[in-house]
């Protein structure tokens, strides 16, 4: 018996007029409105089967004062506590029952509560999202039980040495606001009260500091929800202090054989003309590996430091933009005995760029890497929501990816050189962790 056919399978005639199958309707354009009370609503109806909605609030750790440090961290963990409309149990079970998810993401400047679910269940999860952001109760016993989680959260985060270095870097670089740690300081664990949480929410969760963003939902629906439910607290709330850069250094001596060091100066604020130049400079210098286990040919920092030492190391440019300030510099990871050489070699590389040692080809490569990175980050609905939300909070408008790419292209090589000069001449801040015997101080660099 044969298990194959001797006849050749007949070819189906290719019909040029066969109807093309469309997987989904074309996405509409992004719509953005600003209500009179300051709330920004943005929505992108892309007819996807899932909907993702986020409430972005200008309420990060920079709005804490020295008397209530750690409140933002606890608030981050408190998103599932009982609210006026639903108990904690109901929020958890209700969201799980429809297969949705509620998550909180907080930076120093903003908090983002986002829910994701199938389209049909948007009403259910929206109810919980609005409850959590506008009417939390912070019952004293629930808050007391939650404080133990602060320690766990902190321990998990600090497993990564970068987190500690960046906290120290911000504490060294700024006098206030942005110097506040993202994670609750140890002495405050167990001492944050329900009143402090309420106070923080009252002062910061106001309409003019919020943005409601939805992907996969109609603009009219979002607008009705925002007008009816997000009107609870009007006004601008308590104004945050303006971040004051001071330029200091914090060294943490531990027994680690790897030294993590970050050296920065004040960089560019979000949306300022130099912001793009600093971003391009970051990629000229090298901002993370593009090929796994590759040799990082395009990274000037890596190539420069590789000539100075043959021990394992890693170095990349560090760039972060806040609404009224920024930080730009280098981040090095080196073996403890030759940390000094690595740092000095990295700084020399930036000096070389500041003296004009960068070609147009380098700048074009960097621009392409930056554009690719940005465009890839907004391909996921999570990245896109974050991007739309952050921009709505800061400026109330939205820059389309093509316009953003154009702005990156318009950065000239001279701008990149100027950004590097700004770094070399600016007052520096430094944070270092590890076995610091061979790590130079700021005044030795």
């Amino acid at each position: 018996k044969r298990f194959y056919s001797l006849k050749v399978a007949p070819k189906a005639p290719l019909s040029a007029t066969a109807p093309k199958v469309k997987l989904s309707r074309e996405s509409q354009d992004l719509e953005i409105t600003k209500l009179p009370n300051g709330l920004v609503i943005a929505s992108l109806e892309n007819f996807s089967p899932t909907t993702r909605i986020g409430v972005f609030i200008k309420a990060g750790s920079r709005y804490e004062t020295t008397s209530n440090l750690g409140t933002a961290h606890l608030l981050r963990l408190a998103s599932n506590l009982t609210t006026k409309g639903a108990s904690s149990f109901r929020i958890t079970r209700g969201i799980e029952a429809v297969g949705g998810s509620l998550s909180v993401h907080a930076t120093r400047e903003k908090m983002a509560y986002s829910v994701e679910c199938l389209r049909n269940y948007v009403d259910t999860v929206m109810e919980y999202l609005l409850n959590v952001t506008t009417a939390p109760e912070f019952r004293p016993w629930e808050v007391a039980d939650l404080q133990a989680k602060l320690k766990v959260d902190k321990a998990v985060a600090f497993q990564n040495p970068q987190v500690g270095v960046l906290e120290n870097l911000h504490a060294a670089a700024y006098k206030n606001a942005l110097a506040n740690p993202l994670y609750c300081p140890d002495y405050r664990v167990g001492k944050i009260t329900s009143e402090q949480l309420h106070h923080f929410v009252q002062n910061n969760f106001t309409s003019s500091r919020m943005a409601l963003v939805g992907i996969g939902i109609k603009h009219s629906t979002l607008k009705i929800i925002a007008e009816q439910f997000l009107n609870i607290r009007g006004g601008a709330g308590a104004p945050g202090a303006k971040a004051v850069y001071r330029g200091g250094e914090i060294r943490k001596q531990t027994g680690d054989s790897l030294v993590h060091a970050a050296i920065v100066t004040e960089g560019a604020a979000v949306g300022s003309p130099e912001a793009n130049a600093f971003s391009v400079l970051q990629y000229v210098l090298g901002a993370g590996p593009l090929v796994k286990r590759g040799s990082r040919v395009t990274s000037k920092l890596i190539q420069g430091v590789a000539k100075a030492t043959n021990h394992p190391f890693d170095v990349s440019a560090f760039n972060v933009n806040y609404s009224d300030s920024g930080l730009f510099g280098i981040y090095t990871i080196a073996q403890a005995p030759n940390a000094g050489e690595v740092i000095k070699a990295a700084l020399n590389q930036v000096k070389a760029v500041a003296q004009g040692g960068v070609t147009d080809a380098d700048v074009t490569t960097a621009k392409n890497q930056l554009k690719a990175n940005f465009l890839m980050s907004v391909e996921t609905s999570k990245g896109l929501l974050n991007e739309i939300g952050s921009e709505s909070l800061v400026s109330g408008t939205h820059t389309s990816p093509s316009v953003a790419a154009q702005k990156i292209d318009s950065v000239a090589t001279a701008d990149v050189v100027n950004a590097a000069k700004k770094f070399m001449s600016g007052k520096k801040s430094m944070a270092a962790t590890g076995n610091l015997g061979n790590t130079p101080f700021l005044d030795e660099l």
């Binding site: 108990s87 149990f89 109901r90 079970r93 019952r139 004293p140 016993w141």
Partner: protein, 104 residues
Amino acid sequence: AGGGRIIDTIRKWYYNAAGFNKLGLMRDDTLHEDDDVKEALKRLPEHLYNERVFRIKRALDLSLKHQILPRSQWVKYEEDHHYLEPYLKEVIRERREREAWNKK
């Protein structure tokens, strides 16, 4: 309204006949401590909890001496606050919600 006043008189008589007010206790001090009451007690603000502990201690002391308080210190029906009631109601409501969800 009229019926209410009669019921109220009966309530007052029963309260005084029960006698725990002569030991200086309030009604919520005498509740049997099942799981719901234990959870509600955990949620009491500190000052209310301390007052409750004091009253119970005083009552235990009087009971072992086979004495009662002088008449002027008896808890009056009008002053007896059901301090635990809101917390207890909330605990029971949450428990019922959990059971309803788990039955589905």
